[in-house]
Amino acid sequence: MAELMYWQGILRAHDEEMARDPLVFAMGEDIGVAGGTYKATSGLFAKYGEHRVVDTPISENSYTGIGVGAAMVGARPIVEIMSVNFAWLAMDQLMNNAAKIHYMSGGRIRCPFVMRVPGGTAHQLGAQHSARMEKVFMGISGLRVVTPATPRDAYGLLKSAVRSDDPVVIIEHESMYNLKGEVPDEEFFTPLEGVEIMRPGKDVSIFAYNISVHWALDAAQKLASEYGIDAEVIDLRALKPLDRAGIAASVRKTHRAIIVEEDEAPVGVGSEVMAIINEECFFDLDAAPVRVHALDVPIPYNHRLEKAAIPNAGDVVAAVKKMFGR
């Protein structure tokens, strides 16, 4: 098993899928000659050429639409949006066409379209480069939305997304491209549905996704060593469709739930997971579920303000302690 960085997992998935199927192609800003802002497509231009590793002009909505159109007639595009914030400009093609075409054609047209977006806050990038759009994508019928937290899933989710006949949005993270982790040498596919238990535990379920999985794991370690609280960390991983049964199963075991998200709370992942817990296993709860989330503010530039706006492992520890009356 090799240790790869997150970006290397994405690159390996691209390379394997493009080598396998000549109708798989990549599009985006600076992904070809420049090698990709996060190196996730580096070397592919030389190997597959300009028709399959397409450097686009800065026209997010229309190159997304070109990907959607190509997908509708059998090609398998992987469209990279340089920063998730720019995906707002592509929402028309994503939402009105990619997400709806299969349904509104009565199942006659498939749209095996993949959009990769680096989401989340990095470091002092300001309000227009720090968006977290998961709440938007997961509100759109017809899309699948997945969020890799590890190099292993960065690879495995892209592999599955390319093979799926549904449109899939993959939310990566600007701060995680250099994260290292083990990735099996043999080909594998991470399912596009279902949660993964990252750390089994019996006292409280901590639900997280993408970067917040790491905050939750750090918090769980501290809770165990310093407070004797055995937390179960669940990577939601697939935000749409959410795994209701997987969420409920963990809560039925621990009877307590914390949801950790990098996004603001209103209309977010946390509110949705909390609603599922309420609907599926309310009477299994020993305490009211709690959300740990970003402040509802445009992300500020100043580093202290930025840090204050975004949650961290300490906030998770504090929330669990409070829940246990410690």
Partner: protein, 326 residues
């Protein structure tokens, strides 16, 4: 073109007219719901252009005024009318409606409600054709109003840059919904607007199907042989409102009457009568047989076939097996 084909074309245009008029009746009888955008006055555009394309082979896409493009592409009129009646036997299984007709079996790729949305889709079909090394072309019909969307400019740029085989047909009916072109657009000659993108373009009368076919033949051949885009502007006029709810306040009765004198069916019929290809009696018999066919076969079928089952409402959100892979 021999007399048989001329008579067939006349019949196709008259069928289109009677079909749309029957739709209007069914709308008033509330058998058709939603929004309904009809094509009378513009028949020579879709029928003339697609007469010179390889229907069933070339890919066709358009906006929401899409009935006649679908028919000329080869869609069964019964499947079309059944769709308008919201039936399971409709071309989109009753999930689409008037604005979302689909028939991928004949490469009719839809019917879209967002103005300008199909531009990049059409380029995407062409991108897939290019990847496969196919000889098909992509044909995109949209109105003059669509050319003020960003997708117009973005797509023209990419289609020309990447040499995508797309034929853009602009049906210039002088109004974007209820606003006259000179009140919305600086350059009213639409074909001139693609010059900065290095795309060959022409403008011609869209009411005389012989003129349309002559220009369309050149345009189709250009795209098929040169493997790059072409833009053809057809000057036309819709004799009915934008949709079924149209105040008509934005244009004068005199103007509508003036264009009614240039009705494409009238122009072609007079020419064929003068040339001795068809007689007045034959024309009336043709009209009668069309109306009988629409009433006795098409409308009856649409009325009698069943609606979708309510328990299938969530079917087609995802493809079956969309989470499978490998």
């Amino acid at each position: 073109m021999d007399a048989t084909d001329q008579k067939r074309l006349l019949r196709e245009m008259l069928f289109a007219r009677r079909f749309e008029e029957r739709c209007a009746e069914a709308y008033h009888e509330r058998q058709i719901g939603g929004f309904l955008h009809l094509y009378p006055g513009e028949e020579a555009c879709a029928i003339g252009v697609l007469e010179k394309a390889r229907t069933g082979y070339d890919y066709v896409v358009t906006g929401y005024r899409d009935h006649i493009h679908a028919l000329k592409s080869g869609m069964d009129p019964k499947a079309l009318m059944a769709e308008l009646f919201g039936k399971e036997a409709g071309c989109s299984k009753g999930r689409g409606g008037s604005m979302h007709l689909f028939d991928p079996d004949v490469h009719f790729m839809g019917g879209y409600a967002l103005v300008g949305g199909p531009f990049p889709l059409a380029a995407g079909f062409a991108k897939a054709i290019q990847l496969r090394g196919g000889q098909e072309i992509s044909i995109c019909f949209l109105g003059d109003g669509a050319n003020n969307q960003g997708t117009f400019h973005e797509t023209m740029n990419m289609a020309s840059l990447w040499k995508l085989p797309v034929l853009f047909i602009c049906e210039n009916n002088l109004y974007g919904i209820g606003t006259a072109i000179e009140r919305s657009t600086v350059e009213i000659n639409q074909y001139k607007r693609v010059a900065p993108y290095g795309i060959e373009a022409a403008q011609c009368d869209g009411q005389d199907i012989d003129i349309v076919m002559s220009h369309a033949e050149k345009a189709v051949n250009y795209v098929r042989e040169q493997r790059k885009p072409y833009f053809l502007e057809l000057m036309t006029y819709r004799l009915r409102g934008h949709s079924m709810s149209d105040s008509g306040a934005y244009r004068s009765k005199e103007e509508v009457e003036e264009w009614a004198q240039r009705d494409p069916i009238g122009i072609y019929k007079r020419r064929l009568v003068e040339a001795g290809v068809v007689t007045e009696e034959e024309f009336h018999a043709m009209d009668k047989s069309i109306q009988d066919e629409i009433e006795n076969e098409v409308v009856r079928y649409a009325m009698e076939c069943p609606e979708p089952r309510v328990e299938d409402v969530a079917r087609y959100v995802y493809t079956e097996g969309g989470n499978n892979h490998g």
